[in-house]
Symmetry: C2
Subunit: 107 residues, 2 copies
DNA sequence: AGTCTATATGTAGGCTGTCTATATGTAGAC
DNA sequence: GTCTACATATAGACAGCCTACATATAGACT
């Protein structure tokens, strides 16, 4: 997976994986890997800053929790985040349609 | 169309639009707009440097031509470019499958 | 006791490709 | 003589993803 290709789609991925249940960063990385069948292996240096960014933007709400001695920051979708996710899904469809119409010789 | 979303897919678009026939930069921009039904309106400041980059990489071959007083630089796919296009198409499919598997709730 | 792996978060700095803004010039319509 | 379409190009800004590094706990294994 080319790194640049992910640009601008990271937000959609993070919001989407948090749609069903709140998760902490490490679990999000695993969820992305599992859901994509191993294709998406996003480095921590990408995910943690992105989560903070989405939190600052009000799309996620983060909260510290403890599991034994380990500290986790669990994120959940806010209402604004849920709306943003709908927008991201719609944008994704437009995007794939547009690129596909150029790339796909059948259309 | 979000600018960042295009990142890493510009090469595929340019190679693809040049697959059938050689075109010059301005015509490429129009072709992208037409093929995508207006969704793709790529600025000149993106296309011209990208074409030069692809030429440097050996995927395109450019040649100056004149139509009356107007000078055009027409680009055609090289053999390497044709191979690269096949790779880009394959990468595009993997990419949409991966993102789709996370974004699309039906899967 | 020491090492290793998995779990868990985070930052600094680099890279690179897309964008905005600007510059230059021809052709043709009005 | 002005406006729009055609045509190419560059400088600099910007954003976000990456690599590399730093830190720490838990548990297994030797």
């Amino acid at each position: 997976m080319n790194a640049d290709a992910l640009r601008g789609h990271m937000d959609a991925l993070l919001l989407s994986v948090l749609e069903r249940e709140p998760l902490h960063g490490y679990a999000i990385i695993e969820a992305l890997r599992e859901r994509s069948g191993g294709a998406l292996d996003v480095p921590t240096g990408t995910v943690y800053p992105a989560l903070r960014r989405l939190e600052r933007a009000g799309l996620l709400a983060g909260e510290w929790a403890s599991d034994g001695g380990r500290k986790r920051r669990t994120y959940r979708l806010t209402d604004a985040g849920r709306k943003a996710l709908a927008g991201e899904r719609s944008a994704w469809r437009s995007f794939t349609t547009a690129i596909g119409s150029v790339l796909d010789p059948l259309r």
